[in-house]
Symmetry: C2
Subunit: 419 residues, 2 copies
């Protein structure tokens, strides 16, 4: 008997039949004696429909009003799921974010959760009710509805689990766990039974679509045992089997880990690189280049500045591909003349490929194996950036699949790691 | 310069283009210096879609959860309308019922407004913002979302106007006012420039679909000057013309009234009549018959009990046609044996036709003109019921149109009344 949080995505909530399946699954856990809190997303397509409607009215919708509109999809979901549980004899009650309340800052469309009140939820759980809480939304200190941004329901679920000190947060998705890499590119990719939250963080930030990155940060910060598992199994499969399925995101020091050096290969094709050439090598130059970019609300990912030769250097960074033209324009308009740089050059046809692994901390030779593997395939490396548990390279985008497959094999990710 | 409340129905909010039209109309009033509060309904079809979804999940949806789901349509509307105003440079802000708050009792799906806090709204109005408030919904004392039942947005608008002591509440609909009767049945029907709230109350309760009856009660109780007018005029028509159009619901003692004896002919075909024959004429019998009917949640409209002859009498009443079978079953199961009545007989094929007029109070001969007119057309009267300003008869439903046309002519409603 434990307090368990379930999160279901839009696909799992996508039709009346599927909502009834979710109810069956939750009822099974409830019947086993667990205290159940469920965080569902909006029915698939609903949030997109609402945002499209808003954009028809106003090309750049007022953010507060957009949240007012976009948050309704989750409210419909919680009500319907509560009905589906009541219909099969399981007492349930639904809450919108403001009713719990889930308090956030006032950054509309990308708010951050500040606190979650557990009093009302605990009273319902004590009375034997399943509590269903909207994902994706909260309320700011002025009583305005806020949303957490895309994928925010994952974050809501983990945050609710943290606030309630839940035994585990189960994220049901349309994949059955976290893989060593994308099985659509590498058929030999293996599901990981466990992954550390640091690795998950790197994988999520590198484009693995399994979990929203902020939910992983939350899981790490509050030590929430979080499991990613399939919502496509029959709702009545054996509970013990289900409880051990998927991938558990865990904490190195708490858990016995697989001893793999590398856990996975992450990749994405969403970025573009930009280089400012012939930059004077003096204090403040990085800020002078990236300040105006940040002011234009453009997120920067990798940043590379090499040691200077003869007082000048090249300064490179990557941005989301959708913001490539805007970033180039900002640099030409404001930065170029101000710092007397050479040229602004760039390339949107790049891919980033990364090897990720907590074991990297205590192993040498990872970088050289990675670079040798790419070299053997004739793939030129354009940029390199490293963290404690990750090495990322930027390559020409047409080589991405080849690079992922070669690295997956070179690091023997198709073989189960020794315990 | 005045504080004005506008209410727009689902048809007016039915598409992006129509929402933009509403914004243009509100902007015109705002530009004329008025403080504007707007109460829109959900986009047409949306509430029905949500309720249908709920019923697919649970045949009799849990009322609290149904309100959670059904209230989202209005939330989408207020956000979109606020965006449409912001898009044309008019500062606007939207609120859900709980944000104002609009406080109600906890009778889910048919809640009643208890109070409306005006502080937040007044602050926005003082800052020059148009305030957009969801119709149809409120919040109970436990923070649960409630809805007011069908047509509840009219009530919301009038209640908001009352709370803010608005100069006028304008209800924009797809008809251009209140008519002496339905023009689809009587082409000579005339629009009334003014109607008293008591007459409007009788007309609304008798099936004129123009306004929800509770909104008329509110208008009467709080003396809210309420106008029903067309939402189909071009949004940029002259404001002074628009402000005088439609039908003003007014208060006899305040206003110079048309001196018509009868204001209109109301009718409906939604009812069924039931008679319990041979009922012992003793105290408590009406309660013994209607108590179980009320407990079964069946609303009763007309109730007739004639003077008894020889200690026994017949007891008749009407219910909504959809509840006819249920009412008959209740009477057969619980009432018949308990009071030793004769038979339970009934007829769902009836229509109710009423003449309504404040002038009836001080005029004689209305009833006899009504009965003579029906008699001349060969229409048999099955039941009669009267109030101070209304006479209703039940007739066979196939004669309804004939009766309405004959009465409209007999009372000279096609002629403008003398001032």
């Amino acid at each position: 008997m434990a307090l368990i949080v379930h999160k279901y995505g839009g696909t799992s909530m996508g039709s009346v039949e599927r909502i009834k399946n979710v109810a069956q699954r939750v009822a099974k856990w409830h019947a086993a004696g667990h205290q159940m809190v469920v965080v569902p997303s909006a029915m698939s397509g609903e949030t997109n429909r609402l945002i499209a409607l808003a954009k028809e009215i106003q090309a750049q919708p007022d953010p507060r009003e957009l949240d007012m509109v976009a948050s309704t999809g989750e409210q419909v979901s919680v009500g319907l799921l509560s009905m589906a549980l009541n219909a099969i004899g399981v007492p349930a009650v639904s809450y919108a974010g403001w009713q719990v309340p889930v308090r956030t800052d006032d950054a509309f469309t990308k708010a951050r959760i500040e606190s979650i009140d557990d009093a009302r939820v605990r009273a319902d759980l004590a009375a034997g009710r399943v509590v269903i809480i909207t994902g994706f939304q909260g309320v700011d200190s002025n009583g305005n509805i806020t949303t957490l941004g895309r994928g925010g329901s994952d974050t809501s679920a983990v945050a609710v689990a943290a606030a309630l000190q839940a035994a585990e947060c189960l994220i049901y998705t349309d994949v059955d766990g976290v893989y060593t890499t994308d099985p659509r590119i590498v058929p030999e990719a293996r599901r990981l039974a466990r992954v550390t939250f640091e690795e998950m963080l790197e994988m999520a930030s590198l484009g693995s679509k399994v979990l929203q990155i902020r939910s992983v940060e939350f899981a790490g910060k509050y030590r929430v045992k979080t499991r990613v598992l399939s919502s496509l199994t029959p709702p009545d499969i054996d509970l013990a089997t289900e409880a051990e399925s998927g991938t558990l995101i865990t904490f190195e020091e708490d858990e016995q880990m697989e001893k793999a050096v590398i856990s996975g290969i992450a990749f994405n094709r969403d970025e573009a690189k930009i280089t400012v050439t012939n930059v004077p090598d003096r204090p403040g130059i990085a800020y002078q280049i990236l300040g105006p970019v940040a002011e234009a609300n453009i997120d920067v990912d990798m940043i590379i500045q090499n040691a200077s030769v003869g007082g000048n250097t090249d300064f490179s960074f990557t941005v989301h591909r959708n913001e490539y033209q805007k970033a180039i324009a900002v640099l030409n308009d404001t930065v170029k003349s101000r710092i007397q740089a050479g040229d602004i050059v760039g390339d949107p046809k790049i891919a980033k490929v990364s090897v990720v692994g907590i074991g990297m901390r205590s192993h040498v030779g990872i970088a050289s194996l990675m670079f040798r593997t790419l070299s053997q395939e004739g793939i030129n490396i354009q940029m390199i950036s490293t963290s404690e548990i990750k090495i990322s390279v930027v390559i020409e985008d047409k080589y991405m699949e080849l690079a992922v497959r070669a690295l997956h094999k070179a690091f023997e990710l198709d073989q189960p790691a020794a315990a």
